[in-house]
Amino acid sequence: MAVLEIREARKRFGATQALDGLSLSLGQGEMLGLLGPNGAGKTTLIRAIAGRVRLDGGTVSVHGRTLTAGAARPDLGVVPQENALYPLLTARENLETFGRLNGLEDKHLRERAAWALEWTGLADRAKSVVRDFSGGMKRRLNLACGVLHEPKLVLLDEPTVGVDPQSREKIYDMLSALRADGASLLLTTHYLEEAEARCERIVVIDHGRAIAAGTLPELVTQAGLAGRVVRVRLERPTASPPAGFRTENEGSILAANIHDVGAELPGLITRLQQAGLGVRDLEVRTASLQAVFLELTGKELRE
C-alpha cells in the first residue's frame, strides 16, 4: 500500500487553477522528488497534504486513510521552505515547542530534543538563541523541528535552499537516516542535480498537473530524449558545424543525439575530421534532468 496517495487533486484560487487533476503516489521508505517551475502548484500540493488547503476535488490519503482539510495529521512531518523558527528562543526551546505542538510530552519530549540536537550536530549550541545561528544551522534545526515526533511521512519544501555544500551534504545524510528508520519523503527542490542524484523517482508538475513521473531514464524517454548526447569540445570554434551537429557555447562545443554509441560515434568523429575540426575533448552521456525538465516545461520564464 502506498504511504501517500493523491488522486485527481483540484484547487482553484480565483482565476488561477493551482491544481488541475494532479495524481501521484509515494511508496514506503521512498524519496520522491517533486519538480516544477515557479507557480506550477508544488506549494499548493504540499499545503493540501498538510491540511492547510481545502481541495475543490480529489482526495489525499495517507496509509489508505482519506484526510480532510484541518484534521490532525500526527503521522505527518512538515519542513517548510522558510526557517520557521523562533529566533529569540534557543535551539532546545524551539525543538521543545514544536515537539509539544506535535504531541510529545515530558520525558519523551526531552529525549527526542536531545536526539535532535545530536542528529543536527547542534548539541553544543543547545542553549544558544537561534538568531545567532548560521544559515546551515538554522536549516538543520528547521528540519529537526519537523521530524522530532517521528512521522512516517515527511514533506520537505526546498530543504537545502541557501546553504553551503557541506551543510547540504549533512542535510541529505540526515534525510538518509530518516529513510533508514522507515520514513517516506516527498521533496520539492529547484536543485535538479540533487533530485537526480538523491531521489528514486521524480514527478514533474506544471500548470497543476503531473506531466511526467518515474525514474530518470523513464523521464528521459517520456521527454523524447532517449539515447545519448555526444558533446565535443573543439580546439577552435566553428560557425558551420558538420551535418548532424548543433553548436553550443558560441561554436566552441558541438552536440549530437545518437541512439547506438558503437555504430554511430565513429561516423561522427570521421565527419569532424573531414571538416578539419580538431577535437580537444569528448563526452557521451544520457540526457540530464535539466534537459528533461526544460523539454517538458519549456524555456519561458515563469512568475
Binding site: 499545503r47 482539510a69 520557521a84 523562533y86 529569540l88 514544536f98
Partner: protein, 392 residues
C-alpha cells in the same frame, strides 16, 4: 500548550533589550516628565506662575502698595526691571516701552503699567474720569491678561487695606462683597492628584502601543517567518493560538501598568498601597481589553508597515479623545460622550474613580462591564479577521 506560548513570549522578551526599553523604560520616562511638569513634583519654583512686568510711573505710597501686593501674590512672578545686560550689569527699572518690548519678545505674559495719578483711582468710587492702570499683553495668550486683571483687583484691595488709616479690615475676605472660602473635596491626602491621572493615562497609552505594535506585531512576524504555518499544521489551531497570544500580551500589559504605578508610588508618592484592590481590578480588565485590541489590529493588517500605520493612527486618535493627553472632564459634554467609543476612556475613568475620586469598588461596575464588552468584541473581530490565515 497555551502556557508554553506565554512562557515562550516572555523568554523572547527577556532576550530583546530594545523591546524591554520600549515596554518598560520609555513609558516610565514619559510618565515622569508629565508628572514633573504638571504634578508639581520638583517644581517648587512654580513654573505655573504668570510672568508679569510691572511699571510704576506713579511711584507713590499707594502705587507702591499695589506693587507690593502684586509681588506678594503666589500666582505671579513679577519683574520690575529689564533683564541683566551681562555679568555684573543689572537691569534697569522697567519703563512702559521696555515692558512692551518684553511682551513682544515673550519674556513676560502681561505688563502692568501704573500711570501717574492712578493712586487716586484706588478704591475711589466718586463720579468722573479716573486714571486707569494699563495692561499690555500678547493677543496670543488671551487668558493670561484676564487672570492678571483679576489678580490686579485683589492686589488693589490689599493695597487699599494696607494704606488705609481708618480701620482696615483684618483679613482680605472681610473686604469682599461676598466672602468665601475654598475647600478641596478630593486629593487632600495626596501630593498631587494629577500624578494619578498621568500614571493611568500614560500607562493606558503605552500598553496600547505595546499590544498593537509589539504584541500584535509578533503575530505578523509568525506569519512572515513561517512559524504560524507550522503552528497551524499542528494540533493547536487558530483558537488556541489567539488565546495564547491574548494571554501573553495581557500579561505584558499588566506588568507594564504595575511598573508604572509602582514607580509613581515610589518616586511621586502615588497612594498605590491604599488603593490596591481597585488598582488590581482596573489593571486586569484594562490589560485584557488592550491585548484584544492589539490582536484586532494585528489580524487586520497584512504587513508590519500596515500594522504600524494603523496602530499609530488608532492609538493616538483614541488617546487624544479618550483623555490620555487632556483630561476628559475638561472636554465638552458632547466630546466626553463621544470619547466613550474607545475602551481607553472607560479604563481611565475607572482609574480616576479609584485614585482621584476614591469611590467604592462597586462604582467600577460600569467601567469593568464596558471593558469586558470591548474585550469580547475585539476577540470576536480578531478571530474573524484571522480566518484568512486558516485553511485556504
Amino acid at each position: 500548550m497555551i502556557l508554553m506560548f506565554v512562557r515562550n513570549y516572555w523568554a523572547q522578551l527577556s532576550r530583546d533589550r530594545p523591546a524591554q526599553v520600549l515596554a518598560f523604560v520609555v513609558p516610565v520616562v514619559f510618565f515622569s516628565i508629565f508628572a514633573i511638569i504638571f504634578g508639581g513634583k520638583g517644581v517648587v519654583d512654580g513654573t505655573s506662575r504668570v510672568n508679569v512686568g510691572l511699571v510704576d510711573e506713579s511711584n507713590t505710597e499707594r502705587s507702591q502698595a499695589i506693587v507690593s501686593a502684586l509681588q506678594g501674590d503666589s500666582s505671579l512672578r513679577v519683574r520690575t526691571a529689564t533683564p541683566p545686560n551681562g555679568p555684573g550689569k543689572p537691569g534697569t527699572p522697567l519703563t512702559r516701552e521696555a515692558a512692551e518690548q518684553m511682551v513682544q519678545r515673550g519674556d513676560i505674559t502681561v505688563a502692568v503699567v501704573l500711570p501717574a495719578g492712578v493712586e487716586w483711582s484706588l478704591m475711589s468710587f466718586a463720579p468722573g474720569e479716573r486714571v486707569k492702570a494699563v495692561l499690555l499683553y500678547d493677543p496670543g495668550d488671551p487668558v493670561g491678561v484676564r487672570v492678571v486683571g483679576g489678580l490686579l483687583q485683589r492686589a488693589a484691595i490689599r493695597a487699599h487695606a494696607s494704606v488705609s488709616t481708618n480701620g482696615a479690615p483684618a483679613t482680605f475676605n472681610e473686604m469682599l462683597p461676598l466672602p468665601f472660602e475654598d475647600r478641596a473635596v478630593m486629593g487632600q491626602k495626596r501630593t498631587s492628584p494629577m500624578i494619578a491621572f498621568y500614571a493611568a493615562s500614560i500607562a493606558v497609552l503605552f500598553i496600547m502601543f505595546s499590544a498593537t505594535a509589539g504584541g500584535g506585531g509578533a503575530l505578523i512576524e509568525e506569519n512572515e517567518s513561517g512559524t504560524l504555518e507550522r503552528v497551524l499544521t499542528s494540533g493547536l489551531g487558530m483558537n488556541g493560538l489567539l488565546l495564547a497570544k491574548w494571554l501573553s500580551i495581557s500579561s505584558l500589559c499588566v506588568v507594564q501598568i504595575v511598573t508604572m504605578f509602582v514607580w509613581g508610588a515610589v518616586v511621586f508618592g502615588l497612594p498605590l498601597a491604599s488603593h490596591l484592590m481597585g488598582f488590581a481590578i482596573m489593571t486586569v480588565f484594562t490589560a485584557g481589553a488592550a491585548a484584544a485590541f492589539g490582536l484586532v489590529i494585528a489580524t487586520l493588517s497584512r504587513t508590519r508597515q500596515q500594522l504600524t500605520g494603523l496602530a499609530n493612527l488608532l492609538v493616538l486618535g483614541l488617546n487624544a479623545i479618550g483623555g490620555s493627553m487632556f483630561p476628559r472632564f475638561l472636554m465638552s459634554e458632547s466630546l466626553q460622550k463621544f470619547s466613550l467609543v474607545g475602551f481607553n476612556a472607560w479604563a481611565l475613568d475607572g482609574y480616576l474613580k479609584v485614585f482621584w475620586r476614591e469611590e467604592p469598588l462597586a462604582s467600577l461596575a460600569p467601567q469593568v462591564a464596558a471593558l469586558i464588552f470591548f474585550t469580547l468584541l475585539f476577540l470576536f473581530l480578531a478571530r474573524r479577521f484571522a480566518s484568512r490565515w486558516e485553511t485556504a
